[in-house]
Amino acid sequence: MTQRVLIIEDEPEIAAMIQLHLDRAGFQATICDNGEDGLASIAAHAPDLVILDLMLPGIDGLELCRQLKYDAATRVIPIIMVTARGEESDVVSGLEMGADDYMVKPFSPRELSARVRAVLRRRAGDLPEVDESTAVSGIQVNTDRHEVSVDGVSVDLTLTEFQILRFLMSRPGFVRTRDQIIEAAHGPHVVMSKRTIDVHITALRKKLGRAGDAIETIRGVGYRLESDVIATEP
């Protein structure tokens, strides 16, 4: 079955360009040029994924994201945000509201197609638990025994470092904000300096040695574990 992608973008040429690329990639893409029409279209016929420009006339992208994630009927629809303002705070808010991914203009539409595919694949697998079978960049995690190994050699991590690594490994290739990482490592409602997370990440990278390079800092937003899953597919 062809998967449907709704593009909510007010720049007609960019919307058409994204649509062309997605059509070629085998998706069925439709366009709404404002947030109100976007909401109506989603209510009438829920798409498999939404590509959402953050700067829209009328209801802006973040507000639309909030509404979609608030409503139980639309919460499950994955969202990829697109922004041209380079405002990291918008991206962080969007990710924390539950958007799955984001792209900053100018982006390569090939990469966007690859990300759409990755998000949908992940959605289909419904977030598999990280277990021994999960290996990213040579890192392997055994959740039951709290053991981590890199290229078969066991690595000694603190509990916090372990939780952070497991959290990043649960969605390789996707950015996690610092607040999301704090919540994953220490539970909700824990007030903690964001700098503390940076310190944990630095320690974690050192312990992972060569594989530590796979933990990428996304300036102003957070961290992600690099993964070949999202690599641009030609």
Binding site: E11, E13, I14, M17, I18, L20, H21, R24, M55, A84, R85, G86, E87, V104, K105, P106, F107, S108, P109, R110, R195, D198, T202, R205, G212, D213, T217, R219, G220
Partner: protein
């Protein structure tokens, strides 16, 4: 009768003095002030406005002269008694606060139509009893922003008096907002068309063959270059626009972690160029500043070193303590830069060899960004020759 012209810069204290003297003509300031009444050039520092005022020195009365001086400055001045009754004010105050036409002298502040935030400020200043300053937003049609200062005033034995000095900084604040919005707006306006060009060029690239494909790839390559230049220009604009307030300063950034992060992010590029990186760093060394910006600065230097170091060579990162400073040196063993260019390499778009620059890529802004980041951290950066050939860039930052 003309006297030598001289200038007084009226800052808050000066204005207070004038006002106090006007209200108490027998005061000690009187003699001093009348002596100054030649041609006065009055500059008001806070707004940058300068007016030249001709003040008579005839027998027309000292009070009138002072009134003329007060009325000629663009800073608003109001003197009030302990019970908030207005003792005197200048014409700038009448205009700024949009007070009623009727003479407000002798009327309490709240009856004269003084805006609520100013009244609240007066009440608060009275409680603390000392000088205070605040920035107030007046919720009128034109959303004024005022800086208000107060200073105690003793009139006729009443110690509760107060002089208020108000400056209209609405325009200044608006300009500041515009400047910080500029970077965000420019980035949106430029990124959107580039996204379209890049997207359609990728479509052409996919669907064409032969020369057409080559042409599409030239477009793509130049798109990437253009967006890199825009990112760098915006980075520079942000750095220059606000210098200090623009970034969060962390108390202690370990230099070792900084260099570690940079070598990780440059690892791919280095291995492509068959370059080995070596880090030599004192573990205790730390500086104050923004990790993100400092990483960017070091990373720009390392990227240059990789590009110009020559295949198979070594790029060294050395960090040492030199007195109060932490010195981070990025050393390459490439062809170096002729001495006559040393003083200009930090200028934007300064190219030593255009052909070479095109070959190795780069935006022409990398070193300008380094310099601005280092200056924002109250440090310095210099270029030296590496013994045996090559470039050594040394960043010197205040150590923690």
């Amino acid at each position: 009768m003309n006297r030598t012209a001289f200038a007084i810069t009226l800052v808050a204290a000066g204005t207070m003095t004038l006002c106090a003297a006007m209200l108490a003509p027998g005061g000690a300031f009187w003699g001093l002030l009348t002596a100054c009444c030649g041609v006065l050039a009055v500059g008001v520092g806070t707004t940058g406005l300068v007016r030249v005022v001709q003040v008579g020195t005839g027998p027309s009365g000292r009070e009138e002269r002072l009134r003329s001086i007060l009325n000629s400055i663009s800073t608003a001045v109001i003197a009030v008694r302990g019970d908030d009754v207005i003792l005197g004010l200048n014409s700038a105050a009448t205009v700024l606060l949009d007070l009623d036409d009727a003479d407000p002298v002798g009327v309490p502040l709240h009856q004269a139509g003084v805006p609520e935030p100013v009244l609240a400020f007066v009440a608060a200043a009275r409680r603390t009893g000392s000088c205070s300053t605040a920035e107030l937003s007046i919720d009128s049609d034109d959303h004024q922003t005022l800086i208000v200062r107060s200073e105690p005033l003793v009139v006729d034995g009443d110690g509760q008096g107060m002089v208020l000095v108000l400056d209209d900084v609405t325009r200044m604040r608006r300009l500041e907002t515009m400047r910080s919005d500029f970077a965000a707006n420019v980035s949106h306006e430029l990124r959107t068309p580039i996204t379209a060009i890049q997207g359609y060029a990728e479509l052409l690239d996919e669907s064409s063959q032969g020369t057409d494909k080559d042409h599409a790839q030239v477009i793509l390559r130049n798109c990437r270059r253009l967006s890199a230049i825009i990112e760098d220009l915006l980075a520079l604009a942000r750095l220059e626009g606000e210098s200090q307030a623009a970034f969060t300063v962390e108390d202690s950034v370990p230099v070792h972690d900084l260099l570690d992060a940079v070598t990780r992010s440059c690892a791919d590029e280095a291995s492509h160029a068959s370059i080995t990186m070596r880090v030599d760093c004192n573990d205790q060394l730390a500086v104050q500043g923004s990790t993100a910006l400092l990483e960017q600065a070091v990373s720009n230097l390392v990227t240059n070193a990789i590009r110009y170091g020559g295949s198979g060579s070594m790029v060294e990162l050395r960090a040492t303590q030199a007195g109060d400073a932490a010195e981070i040196a990025v050393v390459d063993h490439g062809g170096g830069i002729p001495l006559e260019h040393h003083s200009r390499v930090f200028e934007r778009f300064y190219r030593i060899d255009r052909g070479r620059s095109r070959q190795v890529g780069g935006t022409g802004l990398g070193l300008a960004i380094v310099k601005n980041i280092v200056l924002a951290h109250k440090g310095s950066v210099a270029l030296k020759e590496t013994p045996g050939g090559g470039c050594t860039f040394v960043m010197s930052l205040p150590a923690v």
